[in-house]
C-alpha cells in the first residue's frame, strides 16, 4: 500500500498530502478519546455503564443518572479534555518554534506568570478572615492575565532585531524562576489557608468545573486550535531554522509572534480553568512525534488528542483512586511526566 494519499479538491484549490499512517493513528486516537470520555463519565461514586452513559448523552437514562452526569461529571471532563488539547498543542508549537524538544509552557514561564497572578489574587482580595472580597469567578481572568503579561514580557525582553529562539528560551527560563520565587514569597507571607488553596491551583485541578467554564473554554480552545492548524506549515518551516525559513520566503518574525500569541492564548485558557497542570505540554507532542513523525500537519492534531486523553485520564485516576479523597489531576500528570522527562533525557544522552 502507498504511504501517502494525494488529496486534491475543487480543481486543486485545496490540496494536501495525507500520510496514511498518520490518518490511521488519528482515527485510533479519536476513538480512544471517545472511549476515555465515556468511561470517565461512567466512573465515580455512582457507577454507570458505558451504554447507559451513551443513553444519557442522547437524552435517555434515569433522572439520577442524568443529574450525576450532566451536573457533576460532564463539565469537568469536558474541561479536562479542552485543557489537555490546549496544553498539548501549545507545547507542540513551542517545541517547533524554539527548536528544542524540552520547550514547554512551564519552562518558558507562561504558566508561572499565571501562578503569580493567582497567588496575588488570593492575597490581594482576601480580608482578615481569609474570605475573598470578590467573586472567585474572577480568578481565571487573573490567571489568564498573568500568563499573557509574562508571555509579552518574555517576548519583549528577548527582542533584539527580532526574536531568536535561544534568547526566547533563556529569557523564558529566567522569568520562570523569577515567577516561582515570587509565588513562594507570597505564599510564605500569606496566611496558611491561602497557601494551601494556592497550592492546589498550582498543581492543577479541574475539580469544581461548571457549565459556565465549559461555555468559555470550549469555543476559545477550538477557535485557537483551528488557527494553530492553519499555522502548522509555518511551524514546520521554523523548525528548520531561521535561515531556511527566510530562504523559502517565510516572514519569520511575524509568524513567530503569531505562534507565540496562539500558544499563550491556549495556555492562558487552560491555566485559567485548571491551574498549572504540568508536563502535558511537554509529553503529548513527544508521544505524538513517536506515532506520526515530525510534520506538524499531523503532529498537532495527534498531540491534541493525546493531551486530551492524558488530562482526562489523570483526572479520572485522581478522583477515583483514593475516593472519596480528591487528588488534583496535576499530581498524576507530573507523576507520569517527571519520569518520562528523565527517560527522554536518558534516551537522547547517547545520540
Amino acid at each position: 500500500m502507498k504511504k501517502y494519499y494525494n488529496m486534491r479538491l475543487f480543481g486543486e484549490k485545496v490540496s494536501f498530502l495525507i500520510d496514511r499512517r498518520a490518518l490511521m493513528v488519528f482515527l485510533i486516537l479519536t476513538a480512544s478519546v471517545a472511549g476515555v470520555f465515556i468511561i470517565s463519565t461512567g466512573t465515580g461514586e455512582m457507577k454507570i455503564s458505558p451504554l447507559k452513559v451513551l443513553q444519557v448523552f442522547f437524552g435517555g437514562g434515569s433522572d439520577m443518572e442524568r443529574l450525576v452526569i450532566q451536573s457533576f461529571r460532564l463539565p469537568r471532563i469536558i474541561v479536562a479534555l479542552m485543557v489537555g488539547i490546549a496544553l498539548a498543542v501549545a507545547g507542540g508549537i513551542l517545541q517547533g518554534m524554539i527548536r528544542n524538544p524540552l520547550a514547554s509552557p512551564d519552562i518558558i514561564g507562561i504558566t508561572g506568570g499565571a501562578s503569580v497572578a493567582v497567588v496575588g489574587f488570593l492575597a490581594l482580595f482576601s480580608d482578615e478572615n481569609n474570605a475573598l472580597t470578590v467573586s472567585i469567578n474572577w480568578m481565571p481572568l487573573a490567571a489568564f492575565a498573568g500568563a499573557a503579561i509574562v508571555a509579552f514580557l518574555v517576548y519583549f525582553l528577548a527582542y533584539k532585531d527580532g526574536v531568536s529562539p535561544i534568547r526566547l528560551v533563556l529569557i523564558g527560563i529566567g522569568i520562570a524562576s523569577l515567577m516561582k520565587a515570587l509565588t513562594t514569597l507570597m505564599m510564605v507571607f500569606g496566611p496558611i489557608y491561602q497557601a494551601s488553596q494556592a497550592n492546589i491551583w498550582i498543581t492543577g485541578t479541574v475539580y469544581g468545573s461548571n457549565w459556565g467554564n465549559v461555555a468559555i473554554l470550549v469555543p476559545w480552545t477550538l477557535i485557537l486550535l483551528i488557527v494553530a492548524f492553519i499555522l502548522a506549515r509555518n511551524v514546520n518551516i521554523q523548525e528548520l531554522g531561521d535561515d531556511i525559513a527566510t530562504g523559502v520566503g517565510s516572514t519569520v518574525q511575524k509568524y513567530r509572534f503569531l505562534l507565540l500569541m496562539v500558544s499563550t492564548a491556549l495556555i492562558g485558557g487552560a491555566v485559567a480553568f485548571a491551574g498549572g497542570i504540568g508536563f502535558v505540554g511537554l509529553m503529548a507532542p513527544h508521544m505524538a512525534r513517536r506515532l506520526v513523525g515530525s510534520a506538524f500537519g499531523a503532529l498537532l492534531p495527534a498531540s491534541a488528542l493525546i493531551g486530551g486523553i492524558l488530562v482526562m485520564a489523570a483526572d479520572l485516576i485522581g478522583r477515583t483512586l483514593f475516593s472519596p479523597l480528591e487528588i488534583p489531576a496535576g499530581v498524576f500528570t507530573a507523576s507520569i511526566g517527571a519520569p518520562y522527562f528523565i527517560y527522554l533525557l536518558f534516551r537522547t544522552r547517547n545520540t
Partner: protein
C-alpha cells in the same frame, strides 16, 4: 552562454555592529554560471552570500536580483527566484526526506493548497536529480553526511529557482562526497543553466568547478574572473597569506595550488 547578470550588489556595505565586513561593494554575478567565493577565514565571503540571500540586512547599499532591488520585492517573490542553503542546516528529529524536500515548495503554497500536482512534480524531480528517490521515506537524522546534504540540496531544488546559493555545501564531507555534491551542482548548471553561487574552502575544487571566481580580501573583491586567469601565486599569497606553487591539474587542466610548508619531503636533492 552568459546572458547578463543574475545578481548585482550596489555599494553594498555589511557590518556586524560597528565592524565593517564588506565595504561599498559593486559586484556582478553572471547568469547561468557557477560562481565561487573564496577567501581566508573571516574575510566576509559567507557574510556576503548571506546578505545576497537577504538573511542579513545591509548597513547601506543593496542587492539586485535580476535587475530588481531585493529589498523591494516580497520575500516570497524572492524565494521563487533564488534559493539559499545555509551552512550545516539541521533537521528536526524524525523528519523524513520527503517531508523536508516538500518544504522547498513553501513559497508556492497556501494553507489550503499544500500539495498541488506541480508541487508533486517538482519534488519528484528534485528527489530524482539528487538520487534521493529510494531514501525519501527515511528520516533525515538517519542518513549519512553526504546523503543528508543531498536531501537539503533536493529541498532547494524543489524551490524551483533560477539561482541557488550555497554556503560551504561540502563542509564536513569526506572527499568522495565532496566530489559527489559538486558534480551534482555542476550537472544542474550544465543541464538546466541554473546560476549557482557558493562559498568553497577548497581552492583546487573551486578552480575545477567554477566558471567565475570571486576572491575576497580586506572588505572588497580582490580579483574576479575565470580561475585560469585569476589564480596564481601572487593572488594566493595576497588573499590567503600563503606561499604556494600554482601548476596545472593533470586531469582537468585547471589551476592547481600546491602550498609550501613543512612536511615530509621524499624527493631526492630537492628538499625545501
Amino acid at each position: 552562454m552568459t546572458a547578463g547578470q543574475a545578481i548585482a550588489t550596489k555599494d553594498l556595505t555589511l557590518s556586524y555592529g560597528d565592524t565593517i565586513i564588506i565595504n561599498e561593494l559593486n559586484l556582478e554575478i553572471p547568469k547561468g554560471e557557477i560562481t565561487v567565493f573564496i577567501g581566508g577565514n573571516g574575510c566576509g565571503k559567507s557574510t556576503l552570500l548571506r546578505s545576497i540571500a537577504r538573511l542579513l540586512k545591509p548597513k547601506s547599499g543593496g542587492v539586485l536580483l535580476e535587475g530588481e532591488a531585493i529589498a523591494r520585492l516580497s520575500t516570497k517573490d524572492v524565494a521563487r527566484k533564488m534559493a539559499i542553503l545555509p551552512q550545516s542546516p539541521a533537521a528536526p528529529e524524525g523528519l523524513t526526506v520527503l517531508q523536508l524536500v516538500k518544504q522547498g515548495r513553501y513559497p508556492y503554497q497556501t494553507w489550503l493548497k499544500q500539495w498541488s500536482t506541480e508541487d508533486e512534480l517538482k519534488v519528484r524531480n528534485a528527489l530524482k536529480a539528487t538520487g534521493m528517490e529510494g531514501l525519501k521515506d527515511r528520516t533525515v537524522d538517519s542518513l549519512s553526511g553526504g546523503q543528508r546534504q543531498r536531501a537539503w540540496i533536493a529541498m532547494t531544488l524543489a524551490q524551483d529557482t533560477d539561482t541557488i546559493l550555497l554556503d560551504e555545501p561540502t563542509t564536513y564531507l569526506d572527499m568522495t562526497h565532496q566530489i559527489e555534491i559538486l558534480d551534482l551542482l555542476f550537472e544542474l548548471n550544465e543541464k538546466e543553466q541554473r546560476t549557482i553561487v557558493m562559498v568553497l574552502h577548497d581552492l583546487n575544487l573551486a578552480c575545477r568547478y567554477a566558471h567565475n571566481i570571486v576572491a575576497i580580501k580586506d572588505q572588497k573583491v580582490f580579483a574576479q574572473g575565470k580561475p585560469e586567469h585569476v589564480i596564481n601565486c601572487g593572488l594566493v599569497k595576497n588573499v590567503f597569506g600563503m606561499d604556494c606553487e600554482v601548476t596545472i591539474d593533470p586531469l582537468f587542466g585547471t589551476p592547481l595550488c600546491i602550498p609550501y610548508g613543512k612536511g615530509r619531503c621524499i624527493l631526492k636533492g630537492q628538499g625545501l
